[in-house]
Amino acid sequence: MSTEPAVLPKVHYLNAGYGWRSWLFTTDHKRIAILYLVSVTLMFFLGGAYAVLIRLNLVEPTGSLVTAETYNKLFTAHGVVMIFFFLIPSIPATLGNFLIPLMIGAKDLAFPRINLLSWYVFVVGALITLHALVNGGLDTGWTFYAPYSTVFSNTAVVTAGVGIFVTGFSSILTGLNFIVTIHKMRAPGLTWFRLPLFVWAHYATSVIQILGTPVIAVTVLLVAVERAFHFGFFDPARGGDPILFQHLFWFYSHPAVYIMILPSMGVISEVVAAFSRKRVFGYSFIAMSSLAIAGLGFLVWAHHMFVTGLAVYAAMVFSALSFSVAIPSAIKVFNWTATFYRGSVSWQTPMLYAFGFIGLFTIGGLTGLFLATLGIDVHVTDTYFVVAHFHYIMVGGAIMGYLGGLHYWWPKIAGRHYPEWWARVSAVVIFLGFNLTFFPQFILGYLGMPRRYHVYPEEFQVLNVMSSAGASILGIGYLIPMVYLAWSMRYGKVASANPWPATGLEWQTTSPPPTTNFEKTPVVDEEVYDYPKLLEKKEAVLV
């Protein structure tokens, strides 16, 4: 039974200063998280707009909407924007930035000014890349394979490359900041195995960010240099090797997909615990699995190259390692599911997203096994099967986790609740729209429809139309939360410090938190996810 209605704290991080200077020169990790939230949301809708145009074009087998040149620029822009400017920063730079110091009882990240710098670097990189996308466009695909990108393309490859190079540093700085913060700034009593799994997930992600991103940076630099100065790193006509490009590119870009999914898995661990009011089943297994995924993820890159003419034995090694990286992910899925057992399972919106994540990530992950299997990969690589696989993971997985996390911590971030009914409706619309969009693509892929085709044989039309119909539903599903989340910042029901309630230090301070996070540095003397203790507390307001 709730007591008095919650009241916003008098001073908190959102009203601690007014004016654009207080935002653009802030060093408060929570404000920087909001800056990122605005930026990545804009980029998400830009990437989504490209997706809408792609799917509209594919309604007709002869390409109903745009020319070949334009289509090639559209799918390139969709990939570049979504991967580099949405998926990679999304959870770490918004939820990670906001929550990690709170979760470990710190006043801020280790390097607050570097945090702000990382946002500016992101913005500059985005502006340079957007300039390229608009002036001349980019038609190499987000994978910009040589020699097409270095010799044949007539688009703004060098400018876009510079933009991506710059943006990479944003990722590196964020990762560096998180690692140092987690190592050095935990509150007294907060040992490693008392850390929330969200923190473990970001730690693993940060390791990948700092080890992998520099390699894509140097690769994109070599592409720009080869293109601008006609050097011969990758162009066979000048003694170069195009396969070398692929090795360098995928050495980063495969671990990059784990940058995109691990934080989301961290969110799911938190949501599953909070909304079952139960400790996550197999906590240390999930923590260690995150590290295993980060480590093994660096060893599998050539599974993107099975049909390039790799030696058969080399291909076998990469296939075997690719299977191995699936195991820790499977372990996590089983552990999350087991957490519900004999829990008190709420169906509030964050949990609906978690349910969706578990189902869709399972399908996406299992379809990854098809790609790791050499004999099948030969047939389905470079087809819509791959497109379906990674959208199941990135959209059905990562984005659902992001939305679940956004809803779960919204009361903490905004000090107000979102409207639950609308949120549930959107979650369901998103789930249905997503499946209609991408499931037919598995079938299209096995049929043999290749990727990056602006026109296609007539017999593939029905499946393409189904996919495009799903995309329109999915788009609507994404728009609704934008509306009600914005609405809730002013009109939502005021949230208490711990409205769900949930364990975790972030809930031990006001909603929204003060600039320095805690009145007093917390001292941790209980285990993580100690729900029995929480539920015993007399002050706990249970709903």
């Binding site: 560096l176 050095k184 700092i210 520099p214 940076a217 011969g232 003694g239 070398l244």
Partner: protein, 232 residues
């Protein structure tokens, strides 16, 4: 343990509990940054390894064309600059303000000397490429590249372009790191002069020292890999 809402005076930042925590964080942060640098150069080293294996003869010819004496002298200059940098850090630990400034300025001097030599080395390879007319002796990869001075033709000449692409790419990236480092050293020297560092807190000097040593170590790998191919 500072619970105060205002930032304490001195070098301690508000979000750290004490100077030790601040320093340990800075050290870990700098090491992580250097790890990213290793991966960054690593991509180039990997590319180098692949092409050296494929085009050994062209690499050998290109390498012989460089002056190993100049490269060696430059190596000594850079090692000396690491020494002066280490002396600067040591002076900071001892709280000797004047010495810090002196050694930092010497480091800048030696680093600039290194860059000067590189300017000269680059110049003799790039000057023939400029202007119209024949570009004999132009060793900058691209349309005007001319490998006749290396006595190479056809394919080997093309392969030599890859060698020189890596030469300019790797030493250029290294030089860029020095060009960024020298103004930072200058800033550090200015702050040292203003009395910002003492025996209790001189972490920025140490951190820049780490960076400078890293740049030195990269060169110590670059020198034999680029200048000493095929020398027995």
């Amino acid at each position: 343990m500072s619970e105060a809402a205002h930032a304490p005076a001195g070098p301690l930042a508000h979000h750290f509990a004490d100077l030790d925590q601040q320093k340990e964080s800075a050290v870990l942060g700098m090491w992580l940054f250097l790890v990213t640098e290793i991966l960054f150069f690593g991509g180039l080293f990997a590319t180098y390894a692949v092409y050296r294996h494929l085009y050994y003869d062209a690499f050998s010819a290109g390498s012989h064309h460089l002056s190993w004496r100049i490269g060696f002298a430059n190596t000594l200059v850079l090692i000396a600059s690491s020494l002066t940098m280490a002396m600067a850090v040591h002076s900071a630990a001892l709280g000797k303000k004047g010495r810090i400034v002196l050694f930092l300025l010497l480091t800048i001097l030696l680093g600039s000397a290194f860059l000067g030599v590189k300017y000269f080395e680059y110049g003799e390879k790039i000057r023939p490429c400029l202007g119209d007319g024949p570009s004999a002796g132009c060793l900058l990869p691209g349309e005007r590249f001319d490998a006749s001075a290396l006595h190479l033709e056809g394919d080997a000449a093309r392969q030599a372009q890859v060698y020189f692409s890596l030469y300019f790419g790797m030493t250029g990236l290294h030089a860029l790191h020095m060009i960024i480092g020298i103004p930072i050293l200058g800033l550090l020297a200015w702050w040292a002069h203003r009395g910002r560092y003492d025996a209790a807190w001189h972490t920025p000097v140490e951190m820049v020292g780490l960076y400078w040593h890293f740049v030195d170590i990269v060169w110590i790998f670059l020198f034999p890999l680029l200048y000493l191919v095929g020398h027995h």
